[in-house]
Every structure is written in C-alpha cells, then in structure tokens.
Symmetry: D2
Subunit: 338 residues, 4 copies
C-alpha cells in the first residue's frame, strides 16, 4: 500500500479552493494537512458551511517555510500576481506545486502584455503547462505545473484534433459560454443575481486574456499560427462551460472519426455522437466533445465543469501524474445529474 | 380619430397567441373581436389564467367564413401546415392576414425541401416577408404577410448591414441562443425543467430549418450567395434570444459606424456601444445590436425577445403598416427589467 | 380632457425607481418632469440601459425647492432615513408625495424600536398608509402617503378578510417567499448569483422588520391583537412574492366564499379557485389570493409582484387616488407570462 | 476484508434509480450486478448519458427469479402499485429489499384510503419504516424496508425532537418547498420549464398524500395525535428540499439546545445556528436543521436533498444497516457547492 503524501491548499476560501478540498478529502493517497489563504481566517467549515461535520481545519496565513516543511505538494489557488510571489518562495523551499493561476501559463512577453510585470522570471521557463492529454510526460517530471484556464482547456481539447486539417488562412471563432462560478466569489454588479438571471451577454469579446493563451498553446503543440477570435459569455447557471469552435477545413473529412481516433486512449475525453450539454460533465473531470461539418465549415462543441476540469480536478490529475499515481486516482467522474 | 379595425387571433392558446392578445388589448386602433383555435376551447382566461379579470372571450373553433365576416385582419398563430390550409380559405373570403408560421416565408422549392408539400401554391408568391426594416413598402400593400421566424429576424438584422463588406468566399457562422419559450408550450423531454435548468446545449447544429430562410433572404436582399452555418442552442431562460454572427470582412472598416449609419432611421433597432444582453430587449420589439472586429474577423451580436420581435410584436408592426398606422402604434417598448 | 400633472421620481437609480419611471412614461395624466437621486448622475438611460431610445433625462441631485417648484407630486424611492430628511423639506415646500420607504409607515415608538430615531416627528402623524383597499378615502385627502412594504401588502391582503373569524389566542404564521429584486440593487454575498441560484433559505426568521408593520396595521384596521410570526425567504427568481398565511379559525366556515365577498368590488384583487403562482401577477398590480381550510386550520396564499404591487404600481395607484383619477389609470395589468 | 454483496436496482431509468446507481458504483461493499426496469431497455448509459464511459449494463426487464438468484439485496425504485406486485414475488424468492415507493410505508387502512387497494397484505406488516435515526434496530433485522418519502423525511426529522414539548391542541403547519426533480422524469404541463422557471406555487395544499404518512409516524414514534397541515410547493430548482415547521410550544424552552441534545450522536443530522439552505445539503445524505421560537411560537427549518436523503442515499444507508456495515459506508457527504 502506498503511503499518503502530505499536501496543502493555499487559497482555500474561494470556489476552486473548496473544490480542491472536496477532492482531496476523498483521495486515497493525498493527505490534506494545511489549508491556507493570504490572510488568516476562520475554520474552513465556517467559510464553507457545507463542510460542517467533515473538516474543521483552521485557515492559516500562508507561510512558505511552514507549508514546505509540512507538505510535499502544494495546490496554489490564489489570484494571479499574488500567486507568483508565493510560488517563488515555495519553490525556493523545495516544494512541488500545481499553480491554478495564470502566472506561469504564458511566455514572458505574452504574460506581461496581458497581465502585469512578471516577478518570477527565473522559474517561469521551468513551468510545465498542465494539460495532461498533451504534456503528461513533462508533467511527471515537473516541480511547477501551470494549470490551464477553464476557457483554454475546453477550447484546446476541441481544437487540437483538427489543427492538421484546418485552413489557417481563415480565422477561428470560439463562442464560449461559462457558468457564473467562473467569475469568482467576489460580489460585483455583474455577478448580482438580478443581472445574470434570465439573461445572457458576452464580455470582453475579441479581447479576453484567454485568447493569447489558446493561440500560444496551439502554436507550441502544432507549430501553426492561427488567428483565434474568442468571445466569452456569462450564462445564468452556476457551473459548467460550453465552448463552440468554428473554423474552415481544408478538405471534407470525416470529423467524428478523426475525433474518435485522436482521443481513443483518453479516459477523460468522451467523444459524443449528439451535441454535448453541460449537465453531463458538471461535477466531473470529463470533457465531452462533439464535431460536425457542412461542406468545409467545421463546428466542434466541447463541455467541461469550469471549476473541475477547468481548474481543481485537472489540478489533482496533474498532481497524480507528478506523484506517479494512476491519473484518475480520486478524480470525480459522476455528474451532478439530474 | 381613427375608427377601430376588428381583428382576430387564430391559435390563441399558444405563447405567441397570448402575446398577440396582450398587445392587441392595449392597441388603440385594433379591436380584438375573435380568439380562435383549431379546436373549440374554454374561455381564454381559463387557458391563460393571467388574463383573469381582463378578457374572458370564449375560444372558438376557427371558421374562415365567420372570421372573415367579423374581422378585417387576422393574426394566424398556428403550427406550419395547419396554417396554410386555413390561410387559403381566409384569403378566399377576402381577409388580410399576418401569418406567424413558416408556411409563406420561403420559395416553394426550399419550403418543400425543409418542411412538407405546399398546399397553397397559388398564394405563396403573393406573400410578403414581414421584416419591416427591409420590406415596409411591400408590406403596406400586401394581403398576406409572412412573419419571419425568431432566429432569422435576429440573424438578418445583425447580418444585413455587413453583406456589402463581407467576404463571401468564407462561410458565415451563426451561434444562436434561445429561451425555452421558443420551443412552444408542448411538453417534451427537451422542455422538462430538469433537462434545461443549469444546462445549455445546441440542437440540430448545421441543419436547422431556419438556416435556408436566412440564406434565401440574404440572397433576395443583397443578391449574394453566402454559406450560412447555423447552430442554435437552448438557454435556461424563458424568453429572449442572443445571436452571435461571425464572418470575415474584405477590409478593416469601422464596423460600429457602419451599423449606426445603416440603422440611423430605424426606431426599433438600437445600436449599442457595449455587448448586448437579452434582458434589455425582453418584453419589447427592440433589436439591440453590437459589432466589433479584430483585423478582418467580424463579430456581431444581436438580441431580441423571441416571442415579441421574433413573433407577435413584429406581427403587429406589420399589421400597423398594412393599415397605414404609425409603425410603433401600440407596440411594447418597456423591457421586463429588472 | 384632463391636463397633465407634472411629477418627479426621487431615487431613480434603483429598481423601484425604474419601475416608477416605466409606469409614468405610459401614464396618460402624469408628466414625468424630473428624475433625481441623492447624488447627481448620468442620464437615466445610461443607468438603466433598457431605457435607451425612450428616455434620456439627466439624473439630478435631489433639490427640494426645485422639485417642489417643477412638480406637483413626488414619488420618493429612497432608502429609509434618507427619505424622511428629504420628505420633510419637500412638505415644507408644499409638495404632495408618495414615500416608498419605511419612514412614515409606523407609529413613532414602533419605528424607533425597529429602525432608527425619527427625524420628522411633525409630519409622521399626518401620513396615511397607502393600502388602497382599506384607506382610499384617507389617501384621497393626504399630502403624504406612506406606501406599504411588499411583505405587508401581500400579508395584509391575505389576512384581513379573516381577522373577524380567526382565533386570536393562536399565533399566526406567515411563510413568505420573495424574489431577489426585493433585496435591492446593491451587491452583497447574499445577492451573488451563486448564493441564490438553485437555493432557498429564510433570513431574519421571527425577527424581520416587516412583522411589526403587519401587527400594527392589523390592530389599526381590526382592533385586534394578533401574534404575528413572520419568516421571509429569498427565492431564486428575480421578481414576485408568494405569501402563505397559517392561522386557526374559530369556526369551520366557507373560506373561499368569505374571500369572494370581501373583495367583490376590488379590481386589483383576484380571488382564485386554485393555488396562486407568482408568474400570473409578475408585471402587474394584481394581488391573487387563494384560501383553503382543513377543519379549523386555515391556509391563505397570496401572490404579488414585489416591485409593483409591493412598491411602484401601488404608489401610482395611490397617486391616482390623490389626484382623483380612476384608480387603475395607467396601472399595469398584463403579466410577464409566459 | 469483507466480500462484496451482489445487489440489483429495479427502476433504473428514473432519477432515484440513477442516484442509486451512482452511489452503488462507488460503494466498497455492494456490487451492482443488475439494473432492471418494468420493460427491457437500452444500455444504462444511453438512458443516462452522463454514465458514458462508466457503466454500460443493459437494462433488463425485471424478472423476480433471476434477480433473486443473482443478487442478495434489491433496491426497488418503481412507482407505487407496480412496486408491491414485484416486491411480493421477490420476497417469495427470498430476496431482501429496500422499497423506495409508498407501498409499504403505511398501515393498510391509511394506504388504501390515500392510494389504492393493497395487493400484498401479507408482507405489509413485516415492513420496517426506513428512517434510520428512529428505526435502526428494526432495520437491521428486516427483509423489507419501506424507504420514507422525501417530504416525511425532512418533516419528521424537524418535528420529532419537539413532540414532547409541543401543544397538541394546536395544529401543526408544514410549509414545504421541493425541487422539481421530486416530480419525476415524466413530462407534464407542471414540469415544463416555462411553468416552473421564475415561478413558485403550492399544489394539493392540505390534501397531499404525504400528510397522513407524517401523522401516522408521529403517532407511532410519540404516541401522540397531532393535526398536521401540509402545504407543498414546487421551487424553480432541480434538487433540494426546504421544510418549515410551525407549531406552538407548551413552554418557552431553549429550542436550539433541545435540538442539539436530541441529535448529538447522529452523523447525518447537522444542527445549525443560522437558517439552513438547500445548497449545503444538495448532493449529500445530510439533513440540516435550524430552530427558533418567539414566545411559544416555534419555527423549525430543515433541508435535505430530495433525491438522496429523501430517497436514494437513505435507501443505501438502510441497506448498510441491513448488512451490518457502518451506516455511512459509501454515502455521499460532499455537497454540490458552489
């Protein structure tokens, strides 16, 4: 029997922090030793009342030395910028880490253009992009895994099987729809119930920060330059994400067959023969994908849980790989249906 | 003072029938004399309990002779196929009519390919397509107006300003999102609350019957052939429709300016400088539109109330035009916000 | 033809302010001259984008002198405490007024116990409680009408027909369910979409400030003391309110007959023979009521639109009465169905 | 290590059937051998597409002999009436069983008054009511456990701690609010998205079939007769149930202390010091309870997941007890939050 590995969650008060805790509580080989945040807080079941009777660890102020001493692997669920400051310290102390923020996902130049000056240029090149289907070998050896954003995860899993057969002279359009939990726990006019309920709207169309993440990864994986046009929408649902990808094929190929062949060995990608919905993946690490074409016009639709496959469960899959556990160890696979 | 024109609503038990009744009850120049359906029914406030205390006309079995005798203008809110059988009789009796079904919207060949054999080939060529912004002159003289579908209304209003400047060698993609009321009052697995709530999915992607309606009208209005790829989705909201149009421009033009110029005299189209939402148009006849581009990639977003601008209020605008009333007479303009 | 009366809305940026504006825009005898708020603001269609193309008055900083000069009747949609400061000035300037806040609804002692020290003790005794069914004569002569809260409106309309036949030695329980718009436009953890969606919970059970308002009015109207136990809940809907009243009858009477008799002349109360729902009243000034008993146990269920019958449309009904117009002049009666 | 017990789920195509399957798939000691229904069907992942990649057993036509041969314990998730016909056969074949229908919950006379003639009078007296907190000893020895309804589960857990201190000369009122999944998978006008969304209404007020179940169990457990007045509502949410209980105490006692004392050894009842919500229990077997009083008026609020604690997870707890496993073995405890 494998001995348990002590782990920590930093950024425990947010939605992705909660999801990490929920997964780790049921994980057979990880032992959740520390829950921490930027500031000291109440016990975790006061912050997340659904944990009452399950876990009552006190939320500690994040201290890199202590965390590195008491845990072997750290899940960082902090906002970007805060994350890199803390990650740097942790790496110095010898901890391994999955970072859920944007801080280590992009090349320096692209990061600084869309976010802010980078404060950990030393470790940035060492980070591995945590999309398991494409980087599992590199993840296995990494000390620092940059967990992909939810939009890039769903978009890349839909797009990558078709890069070889798409006409790159034509722009790609991605019409993405996200549940409100993706906007985080902080209240704002946009997340007010009355603003969202019975409504839908796009935000930052053609200028969202996830577009360059998608473009960069497409180039890295395929060596091709595509013009990605990304339009995200907020849906009146709590969790789930549906991404529609539109592009032009070079030839009139069998797109479903290509999809099946491409993902035939992947446990967490399900190729569907009917249009995907978000309820069938909400609560799980699955990405469901459907593809269809009319002449050379291609439509690919993918669905994930934005907080799980788009954040916390993918992070634990990455941690499993880093620790040589089976990828699906402790990973949720039963959807919140009905 | 104008004298009131007697009108009838046939197909009074459905959602669009109800919306017609609500508008006509407040209309200064139309006098709702008859509410009818395929079968005789209860009083209208039993079928639609919200009308209690307001209107208690008995729902009659639709009889063309009687309706033509008692009313000068008829709103036909019947399912396709049923509609044309009844419309034919009504026209023989000399009634004028706005038909909300698909039966007179398309050229014969296209209709029969996507629907069923046409049973009123004589009147089909006389029908005028009831998109007021483009056909108001023809509508004014018509006896039979074919009211557009909700998807074509929102799609055409978004697309038409850009046909001259779009590159027709590239396909156009339309990602449309509709409230559930668009699927009608009939219960089905798809309209069960549990299927829709906290969910979103596309249906009939690239093969919905509204795509040829859009293609045909684009050709008629612009003389150009575009390859339209239409993907409709069901949203977990009752009413409202958001349509995203994606295409490739020939040149890097100022798309907002073009939109403003194009609709500068149109009262029921509002050009927005921020992404449109459905709450701001739900309850009204407005179509809100927003456009943006990145290089030559164009994104246009339009929002309508699927039951009003996409059906009943547009039908009354058409009736206003047919009767030489001001187009906005009695038309709802105050949204259901908050 | 009646000449139009100039009116003002103070507190125009909130939800009830918007609803007042929407009603007044269609009102045949009121002329909306001024929209104001505590602080100067943008044009009203910037604050409420759904008003684009309809009204673009600039939101002025509320100035009692100017408002009293330019309008004959003022609708005050300010938070409690702010309201009385401003009302006092306005009354000094000779304006008549409907105040939608809590400031003039209660006796001094009760007000100060549940809210704060009262700053306009002089005018407080002159205020008339604006529940038209019970105070229309007094409202007609009033200069200051205190518009009831949404919970008291729905609760009193359900309860009052039964006060004579209820056993006052037994407590009355009121289980009330409100749409989120009742909590106002301000963002908070409680109004975050994720907190409300797919959820329901009570708040301030047995200690909500509307309970004493209900108790006081019951006593004033009936002369009887009842122990009111009030438990409000937040519903995952934007607008609407359902109130369930539970009490014990002294005798096994025909409760539906009593209800019908009691409200037989009231246009805005609809007695139903099936359990009421909120969709049939949302968008209107109606209060729908249903009553049933088992032995002596009584259940009364009432439904209103919290922003209309519970605030803005009731305010305009009061204004109609104050100006000797028909009570239903310009009042919305068509529900937001489907 | 315990060897696995082969089990069957009969009625696999409904919501509670799906929830049973989901729990059993993760259960360490039960081995799901058969999924069956009244009629033969497709593979289970065709009926429930979220199970794709997880379970693809074919749904068999329920055959008592075969099921009894291949499984030791059967979960019966059939409609009432169908259930007893099948249960009878199964018991004859020597199978043990948890029946989720109403067929064995009530005394014969009460059952026949509210449902239909009973067709298995022989086994009815042997059935044990499966509310673990009150009947665990009897459940351990039972061959036939009648799983409580969702409304009675939430109502009894709220009420039972207070029966000794409530004044039985006053009626008890129960205002219950249920998610739509409680109405089952069948489409109807009532479960149409448009009927439920942005709405709330009561149904069968004071005459729902769950009221006699509550009254009978109260009498059995406490020996006291209470007049239960039960008013259920449908909420615009998929899952979850909130029950408000109103009654009159004989004395002004500390109700929270009583609640804590009463449930101090119960793992699946959480006493809360703030009003309970449904999100904190949805997805789990927990029942959260909050109590407060004003003078002698008592308010108790309880929350459960209607499909889990109100059906499937409670059924598996009962099965655990029948098989001498720890009660919480394989039982879901992590809520679907956020």
């Amino acid at each position: 029997m494998k001995s348990k590995i002590p782990v920590a969650v930093v950024g425990a008060s947010g939605y992705t922090g909660l999801e990490l805790i929920k997964i780790l509580l049921s994980h057979p080989y990880f032992d959740l030793k520390i829950v921490a945040a930027s500031e000291e807080g109440d016990s975790i079941d006061t912050i997340h009342p659904s944990l009452k009777g399950i876990l009552n660890l006190k939320v500690k102020k994040a201290d890199a030395k202590e965390i590195a001493k008491k845990s072997e692997l750290v899940f960082l669920a902090l906002p970007h910028k805060t994350a890199m400051g803390f990650a740097k310290e942790l790496l110095n102390e010898g901890a391994r880490m999955v970072d859920l923020s944007a801080d280590y996902r992009l090349e320096l130049e692209v990061y600084e253009k869309f976010y802010c000056p980078h404060e950990d240029k030393e470790n940035l090149p060492k980070a591995v992009y945590g999309l398991p289907e494409f980087y599992r070998k590199e993840i296995a050896k990494a000390d620092l895994v940059a967990n992909p954003g939810c939009y890039p995860t769903a978009s890349l899993l839909a797009l990558l099987p078709f890069l070889d057969v798409l006409d790159s002279s034509y722009p790609i359009f991605i019409d993405a729809k996200s549940g409100v939990s993706g906007a985080g726990k902080k209240c704002s006019e946009k997340t007010h119930f009355v603003s969202i309920n019975e409504n839908i709207f796009s935000y930052n169309p053609l200028s969202h920060r996830h577009a360059p993440e998608i473009e960069e990864k497409i180039f890295k994986i395929s060596g091709k330059n595509f013009h990605i046009n990304f339009v995200p929408h907020l849906l009146p649902v709590t969790r789930g994400m549906l991404v529609s990808v539109y592009g032009v094929l070079r030839d009139e190929i069998d797109v479903e067959a290509r999809l099946r062949e491409f993902y035939k060995d992947e446990k967490f990608v399900r190729v569907r023969d009917f249009p995907v919905d978000i309820k069938s993946t909400a609560g799980t690490n699955f990405c469901d994908i459907f593809a269809k074409r009319d002449k050379k016009a291609l439509f690919v639709s993918s669905s994930i849980d934005n907080l799980l496959r788009g954040a916390s469960s993918q992070a634990v899959v990455n941690a499993n790989i880093m620790c040589s556990f089976a990828e699906d160890t402790g990973i949720p696979f039963l959807a919140y249906v009905p």
